[in-house]
């Protein structure tokens, strides 16, 4: 029993954090809003060169052969810096889905290699989301149809751009037909792939929300330290301190469930639903509370477009509902826990053990 990350995992996270800190700022994010795609291809190339897009791609296809647990802290940092580029979706959602099929489907194997090299980008649709994010910059789309998973080239789909409250998010309604040739999997295999995809998507959203929550609290602490009223920083007031302390408690207790979920997705994916839903629910609550208490701390300033807070706040609002809203995930928790055969109790925290 050892619930810690390895030195290597922590060091890797630290180096990526430094990279994001240097490259992704409120200014760069605002600048991206005015561009056609909202995406920075130079930044993507840099991430490709760092090996990030291939982190979960098996070594046989040129990737680093790492797993979801190796990436989870990085996903948290992507949230902290409100990265607009679809790194989390690429690493946690697209490449594992392709890798599941690559041994039997040459197209998937080839795409994996091209994701590692940065030649292609993939967008993933799922019934949980209605819309597909980043479809406009993708070369191929992985799309569900009932129990089927299809791989569709972008020139075979029609994209209708939707508008998110978060200007960094680019969402699309996708109209497509698909055929036997585009179908990668169906039946029980398709259902299993789509279920695993949902869990990885939810895991990525949860991780980002923990990072978003911490960053909003950090911004609010800074603001309430700098902003003077009645001749002193507003942060001396207990009412504001307690708003922030409540966020810290929520966020702290979202972390262990998040890391347990990542571990379970890697070690015991067939039983990951419960762990993932737990993480998604509590991370969502942490991010939404941080957003609410932060705008309160910023006062009228927080209600403006000029104040950077809304970059993080709006991302939180969106991700809480993406890859399964709280109702969906709570429902899974209810079904598991209230089942008369559920194995519960303190000695079952880590599942049944010898």
């Amino acid at each position: 029993m050892d619930f810690t990350f390895t030195e290597d995992q922590l060091l890797f996270c630290e180096s990526v954090k430094e990279f994001l800190q240097g490259e992704v700022t409120a200014e760069s994010i605002r600048a991206s809003w005015d561009t056609d795609t909202g995406r920075n291809s130079e930044l993507w190339t840099q991430m490709v060169e760092l090996g990030l897009t291939g982190m979960l791609v098996p070594e046989a296809y040129g990737g680093l052969g790492m797993n979801e647990l190796d990436f989870i802290l990085l996903a948290q940092e992507c949230g902290r810096y409100a990265l607009p580029e679809p790194l989390v979706e690429t690493v946690l959602v697209a490449t594992p889905l392709l890798a599941s099929l690559a041994d039997t489907d040459a197209r998937c194997a080839s795409l994996l290699e091209k994701i590692v090299s940065g030649e292609v980008m993939i967008a993933v649709g799922h019934a949980a989301n209605n819309l597909v994010s980043d479809a406009h910059v993708a070369d191929y789309l992985l799309l569900p149809k009932g129990d089927q998973v299809h791989l569709v080239p972008k020139d075979q789909v029609e994209l209708i751009a939707e508008k998110s409250v978060d200007p960094s998010r680019r969402l699309f309604t996708v109209k497509w037909e698909g055929n036997d040739e585009t179908c990668l999997a169906s039946g029980a295999e398709g259902v299993a792939l789509l279920a695993a995809t949902l869990n990885r998507g939810a895991l990525g959203a949860a991780a980002q929300m923990v990072g978003l929550a911490e960053q909003m609290v950090a911004m609010s602490v800074q603001y309430t330290t700098d902003r003077l009223q009645f001749g002193k920083p507003i942060g001396v007031n207990q009412a504001l301190k307690h708003h922030m302390a409540n966020c810290a408690v929520k966020t702290e207790f979202a972390k262990a469930p998040l890391y347990r979920a990542a571990y379970t997705v890697v070690q015991n994916p067939a039983h990951a639903d419960f762990a993932v839903s737990h993480a998604k629910v509590v991370a969502g609550e942490a991010a939404l509370l941080a957003a609410k208490n932060s705008i309160q701390s910023f006062g009228a300033m927080g209600y403006t477009w000029e104040c950077d807070l809304h970059i993080w706040m709006k991302r939180s609002w969106a991700l809480d509902k993406f890859w399964g809203h709280a109702g969906f995930h709570k429902n899974r928790l209810h079904q598991w826990l209230l089942n008369p055969n559920a194995k519960i109790g303190a000695e079952m925290t880590f599942g049944e053990q010898a």
């Binding site: 029993m1 050892d2 619930f3 810690t4 990350f5 390895t6 647990l69 609290v217 602490v221 309430t224 330290t225 002193k232 920083p233 942060g235 001396v236 207990q238 504001l240 301190k241 307690h242 922030m244 302390a245 409540n246 810290a248 408690v249 702290e252 207790f253 979202a254 972390k255 262990a256 469930p257 890391y259 347990r260 571990y263 070690q267 737990h278 629910v281 509590v282 709570k330 928790l333 209810h334 826990l337 209230l338 008369p340 559920a342 519960i344 109790g345 303190a346 000695e347 925290t349 880590f350 053990q353 010898a354």
Partner: protein
């Protein structure tokens, strides 16, 4: 990261489970806030000590087993699973014990830890005063040096279990002219010393769980002081860290309550009209599990040389509010029977929930109120301005 127990850890769990099954009293003990119940619980402490199960994390020379924190968590899980009696000496073993190990002289460790571990001496805590609650630096009771002795005068209040305990560990002002955090010392006083008057204060359940302690020219040897003269504040802060941190409230206690809550919900599922109750049941269970996961994470980190700091305040808020939520939810499920005392003829096991509900009211108050904890989090963990 490896979230599987080792074969040794599984074997340890089995050993704990078997010992508890063979040794737990067949009849539930009376409340330790009664004279008879207190002695029953003292006997249980002695039984634990004989099996070397009193404090598994303590070194073997003090009657422990030198267990690491993961093994301690396993022990706690089995302890609550088996519904073993609550620890009557918790102020001693969970709070003073670790403090003694860190700050005690070899003689003090020899003298006090062994008898604490063996169940011979029960401890109470004497910190709060009528004028010093959350503001503990306002302590006024004095212990003034007279040769090899301190002469103690003053009053302590809210001393849990002091009515029946043998010793109390206190913070006194040893420098009469000092103010605030300075000039305080950490001193042990036998509760049967001449000049000590213990006055019971009945708690919400009517039992004398609290006491006021009056000191009237009480004399104790200087060797009863823990740490240096004037270092009382820093040592008390270390004790408070143990109190809010890992040891006092292990996750298993809450997980066991959450499990009982799930059973209660299932039993009453057909009668429940308030749709929010099911959500509260699930949230309770998940929060108890989150507390366990987080504690395993902290334990793993500490075993690799990490330290626990202000995050103990984060823990304290979380478990105390969780305990409230669970018992409020149970009260809602029990509805019109929720008010029945355990001794009421028709109470069944309902009364147990009422006891827990009342005790849950104290969680956000003791060990430093949750308001104080939030200030600590905001100022020390997050860096918000003090003034």
């Amino acid at each position: 990261m490896d979230l599987n127990y080792t074969p040794e850890q599984n074997a340890f769990r089995k050993e704990v489970r078997e010992w508890l099954a063979a040794n737990i009293p067949a009849e539930p003990l009376q409340s330790f806030d009664t004279a008879e119940g207190f002695e029953q619980h003292r006997e249980w402490e002695k039984t634990l000590a004989k099996g070397n199960w009193g404090m598994v994390t303590w070194p073997k020379e003090y009657g422990g087993r030198g267990c690491n924190l993961i093994e301690w968590l396993i022990f706690e899980e089995e302890y609550y699973r088996a519904k073993a009696p609550l620890r009557v000496n918790q102020n001693g073993i969970f709070l003073l014990g670790p403090t003694l190990m860190e700050y005690g002289t070899p003689e003090q460790k020899e003298r006090f830890i062994s008898k604490m571990a063996s169940g011979e001496e029960m401890w109470a805590q004497g910190w709060s005063e009528p004028g010093a609650g959350s503001d503990m630096a306002a302590i006024r009771s004095k212990a003034i040096r007279d040769g090899d002795e301190y002469v103690i005068n003053g009053q302590k209040v809210w001393s849990t279990r002091a009515v029946f305990a043998d010793w109390v560990f206190c913070i006194f002002r040893t420098d009469a002219d000092s103010e605030r955090h300075k000039g305080l010392s950490f001193v042990f006083v036998p509760l049967d010393a001449p000049g000590v008057t213990v006055r019971p204060i009945p708690q919400l359940d009517g039992l004398p769980g609290f006491a006021e302690i009056f000191f009237d020219d009480v004399r104790v040897p200087v060797s009863n002081r823990l740490g240096g003269e004037g270092e009382g504040w820093n040592i008390a802060m270390a004790t408070a860290g143990f109190e809010r941190g890992l040891m006092l409230r292990s996750p298993a206690r809450f997980q066991e309550t959450a499990k009982r809550l799930v059973s209660l919900y299932r039993e009453h599922a057909n009668d429940i009209m308030d749709l929010s109750i099911e959500n509260a049941v699930v949230k309770s269970y998940m929060d108890a599990e989150a507390y366990a996961l987080s504690t395993y994470q902290t334990a793993s980190r500490l075993m690799k040389g990490g330290k626990i700091g202000s995050e103990s305040s984060v823990n304290k808020i979380f478990w105390s509010e969780l305990d409230q939520l669970m018992h409020e939810t149970a009260m809602s499920i029990l509805a019109s029977r929720a008010e029945l005392l355990p001794s009421s003829p028709n109470a069944g096991d309902v009364g147990e929930w009422l006891d827990g509900f009342m005790f849950a009211q104290s969680g956000p108050i003791y060990a430093g109120t949750n308001e104080i904890q939030r200030n600590i989090i905001a100022e020390r963990l997050l860096g918000m301005p003090r003034k």
